[in-house]
Amino acid sequence: MMDEILKDFLTETTEHIEGVESQLVLFERDPKDAALVAGIFRLVHTIKGTSSFLGLNRLQKVAHSAENLIGELRDGAPPTQTTVSLILGAIDRIKVLLEEIEQNGVEPDGDDRDLTEPLDAQAENARNPNAALPSIATADNNSAAIPASTGEPVRMQKASAAAKGPETIRVAVDTIERIMQLVSELVLTRNQLLELTRHREDDLVKAPLQRLSSLTTDLQDAVMRARMQPVSRLFSNLPRLVRELSGELGKKIDLVTEGDDTELDRQLIEVLRDPLTHLIRNSADHGIEMPMARAAAGKPEFGEIRVAASHEAGQITIAITDDGKGLDLERIKQKVLTQKLATEADLARMSEEDVYRFIFEPGFSTAVTVTNVSGRGVGMDVVRSNIELIGGSVSVTSKPGRGCVFSLKIPLTLAIAPALIIVAAGQRFALPQHAVVEAVAVGSGTDVVEEVQNSLVLKLREEVIPVVDLQSVLGLNRITETPAPDRLAVIMRVGGGAFGIIVDAVIDIQEIVVKPLSASLAHLKTFSGHTILGDGSVVLILDPAGLGSGLGIEKQAEKKREALKDLALSGATRLLLFRAGPGALKALPVSLVGRIEMIKPDNVYETNGGWVTLHQKRLMPLIPMHHDIRPGEKAFPALVIIARGRSMGLLVEQIIDIVEEELIVQLPASGGAIVGAAAIDGQPVDFVDISYYLSSAFAGAHSQSDDLGKRVVVIDPDGFVRDMLSPVLIAARYNVTVVKSFAEAELAVKQNGLFDALIADADNDQLGAAGAGLFRMEYGAPLPVIGLTASGTFTAETARGPVMVINKFETQSVLNALAAILACETKSFTGDSFFTPEMAA
């Protein structure tokens, strides 16, 4: 059924419809523009004709009724709101039908009387305006009398349309992509040739090679151009959007577009659609004021949203400008403070631009009331991440009372990108330049990099930036024992957070032809693709976003708290997925894993039936998670677990991924090394019980530990502590009992005797200060109580009850506090003397 004629009809019609929508809205503005109506009429007429020829009855009927109404407009009937809405409705229906036909090859069942009847009725009304709306219609009739004879201009436009415009042919996207691919390969071969002949003085070859080289560049350029499409494709549905928004919001808004013919890679046009829509919604909702307010401020009643595209220096800039009230600096500051994204002192230092940038933070919305259109705090961060994903950037400037400007800077294409060629452990990698901020020398002799709690940080000017050694992150084998003396840290900024990777050298900056990873490697988040360098060698392209999220570096240190809070609110925990033995993948909360290390066979020693490795002159026990993992034979990744000052390495076969998931054990296990199983991304995953391995790693050390088996009761009604804190406590070898309420805790005391410490949620009303105090009184025993709070604020009220109040997301503080309390308790416990606000803060 899907024959060529039908296919052509579908593609052509879809394109024409995109064009007609903006014309309709323009027409509504300016009813005198008969040429516009004529254009719309022609399109619908063509659809009607072709669909009747192809036997598409529904399409034909809708087009027929719409044509009737548009015909009335053409003949001078006034374009009322109802008329335009009905026509837009008809065009929508035509689009739906076209989509259905494209998918199934046939028209869907059903009829469109719900649409055609009002269309016909409206056409009838329009024909007899006096009957329907006598008073207004007369006036309209008079004004509409001017363009009444439309025949002449229409014919003229037809003629001019035929005369101008270059000849075009329709080429399948696949064909263009294939040509692009071939050209990419040609470029690579050319580069190889140049590399080969660089050191040879052979004039015979040199001249033609030079010619080949420049021709290849020209060809590449020409093909790139063929992939380009004007941004008008992106702009075409904006008038409709703005029209709908002004209706919804009761505002009067004019849309102006500029630079419609600016060209952009077609891939990018699709990516930009959503962010652009969102920014315009935002401008309409938050920027443009109500007509009354505008009048009061001495502005024209109609607000203006201007979308301008321009091309400069190999980049496309799209600026969305509104003449509304501008961003509210004070309200943003307030919001920043309440969300703890920065301190008041920070804000005082920041420029206005910097403060405005906070609107791109996740969950940030200053709208007082949540409207249908925007203000839900989702979106702006998505806009930024979408734009950054394609190597672009978004910025905002604003003038109070005058409006604000969002500008998007976008690379011309995704296929070719400038990249740094870096070296780590002798292997070359490409790092897209768009995320790179700077490179800092960190070799010996400099002291900018420091190791803090087994992690590296870089002190750069005012900032402390987390850095990682690319070599160890990627598990590469060092070729020489001593790292190069002149190593560099390449600092990147991804989604507002900065981090660095330490590399041996940056050897080149060049334009690389980006190719996506093949299916069997596409799951690797660390790499975004691969490319071939001039010497013919294949290099992997590092993905800055993937690197950052793989390392858990998504936020700057000062925003870490906020990130954890978001995580807790969504109930998600970052889980490390890995393979160890057959069957389901295994998972551990990332918070439990200190670091991941490759353990090479030459650094593994067999002792006493177990394995150890030498790490920083200390022996670390290695526990293979499966008997197939034989550390003496090849290198395995080890999850290094640090508990109470000791570390152990859990050997696994392969690190698969880090995912953010709600940690809900769906199938509890009967015991052993697995806590239980759950489904992640539709696949079963086993949760590993860390305490099982810890006890086997430190089997001999048990008796030395004075706090082993200290019994801690955790009262937690909402499951957060149970899922996130209790594994940490278990890992620290506490005997943990989790209960949901004080009543259950009392029951547990009755059954098992007193606990050594109690941890309760201080944010919870029932469990708050009073409850904890009560529990202590009733049992009279010196039971240390730790209160957990999400806000991190320490108020006198909550302090009265619990001995300590600690931010519940700082698991390490909780452990420290618990250890401190229990250590003191064995000496002398005097109740409230443990109330130490310093520790709690």
């Binding site: 690579l188 990627l474 093949s518 069997s520 490697l521 071939i532 294949v538 076969e653």
Partner: protein
């Protein structure tokens, strides 16, 4: 071994009831790859290792301007020990699910035309991993040649 192979191989056009296999050697063992699936034999000049990839994936190689995923047949078959010439090794170019692969082997042999009647099913006591990667065995002269299952070899989801 080469002799046994030669006696069994006379180059004929495949007819109905016959199949052609391209023979390859890994650690002295012989295997057959369906001729229809093999595209090219080439020598790998350099392999770019891919961190975090499946351990059987040796890395990426440049095959005439195309980037292909190199898979070690030795690692795939869990053949322990022996030095593998990944760099400068021989590889068979095979396309699977529109992805280009290079299967690294020690040596390549001839094309072998076998009759369906020479096919024997994979014995049940074969190593599980091996039998998953094998479609059938062919009795050729004194040799039993396992025919490799291309689908299973390049399917890293289920392994």
């Amino acid at each position: 071994m080469k002799n046994a192979l030669e006696t069994a191989t006379d180059m004929r056009v495949t007819t109905v009831g016959e199949e052609s296999y391209f023979t390859v050697f890994v650690a002295g063992e012989i295997f057959g790859l369906p001729v229809a699936r093999t595209q090219t034999v080439f020598r790998i000049s350099s392999v770019t290792p891919v961190p975090f990839a499946h351990p059987d994936i040796a890395g990426l190689v440049n095959l005439r301007g195309r980037i292909v995923t190199a898979v070690s047949l030795r690692r795939r078959l869990k053949i322990a020990g022996g030095s593998e010439g990944v760099q400068n090794g021989l590889a068979i170019g095979i396309e699977h699910r529109s992805e280009n692969f290079a299967l690294i082997v020690d040596q390549v042999g001839d094309v072998l035309v076998v009759a369906r009647s020479m096919e024997i099913p994979v014995p049940p006591h074969f190593d599980h991993e091996r039998s998953r990667l094998t479609t059938a065995l062919y009795r050729v002269g004194k040799l039993l040649i396992p025919a490799l299952n291309i689908e299973a070899i390049f399917d890293f989801d289920k392994s």
